[in-house]
Amino acid sequence: MSAINNLIVKVGRSVGGVVGTLYQAGRDSVDTVIRNVIPFMAFISFIIGLILTTGVGDWIAKGLKGSASTLPGLLLISVVCAIPLISPLLGPGAVIAQIVGTLLGVEIGKGNIPAQYSLPALFAINPQVGCDFIPVGLALGEAEPETVEVGVPAVLFSRLVTGPLSVVIAYFASFGLYTSK
């Protein structure tokens, strides 16, 4: 009798554990969505609304069209974003990358920028990723202060090389992407 009892308790506990975990996971994800995702969506929606209804869109389109629909133009964007003094300023929250990405998305949707450029563009707007966060990120990895001292410039200089390089790789990887329909 006690064996059956134990079994029931065991099954009940593990089922309860799994259900509890799933429920907690749901709570976490809704929390993330409300706190991080929806506010940004609201902000982005406002910007898109502004672009689509006012003349700002055409103005941006002219500026972006030249640079975002050729490989040299994308390389130029990536080099500018990777300059060691600029990259930490562009980094925080990836806000700049998200806004520029959205602007490019609007232009791609309108057909002003060819669709296959979406892949290299994703890398061109983002060589500064995490450049604002290097000391904190290294501290999370329990790095010594000396490592941080060396690590910050090392990452920043590395980006100057790997930023444009990533655009070139993405450019060649984009062959055959959305070209025929």
């Binding site: 975990t21 993330t32 995702v37 982005i44 990405g101 990887a173 959305y178």
Partner: protein
Amino acid sequence: MNLHSLMFLSADVTVDKQDGFLGVLATAAEDFIAVFNKGGEVLLSLMGGILPTLIVLLTAVNALVRLIGPEKIENLGKAAARPGLQWYPVRYIVLPFVAVFVLTNPMAYTMGRFLPERFKPAFYDSAVSFVHPILGIFPHANPGELFVYVGIATGIQQLGYGLGDLAVRYMLVGLVVIFIRGIVTEAITARMMKKGA
């Protein structure tokens, strides 16, 4: 009622566009509210399109990570710390991928603690560069910065193309790029440490 009279009737109802001061005000007000109407439309389409999938996916992956337990990947971190050429891909492809997938941004960088000091900047560089390429397929890793990918992906969607191709290529190219970044940054770090010592 024939067509002619219908047209006549509708012409009767149409109000002439007001000019003068009040007319300008009215047009300005309409233009003003049009911006937010459009914005609201966009917001609704975003929330209707992405959010439901995102919430369900987030829940599933969060649950999976909780059931497995983040501490399980510590052995991988220890393996990645080994010197030698064959551990490069582990250190700058497998470990960043697993760390970003399981621990997500920003806790992924804590995996650096298993590596010797000279690899830490390179690992950080590699891991942080992967928090966006992973978004196309696994948005749970960095939901706060979703629009780096979604911004551009929305444009592709408007053209009527599928997103799978872009998402897969973004992640694969991302893996290649973080590998190169890890190697380059490790080399630069090594040179700078030598100079400093």
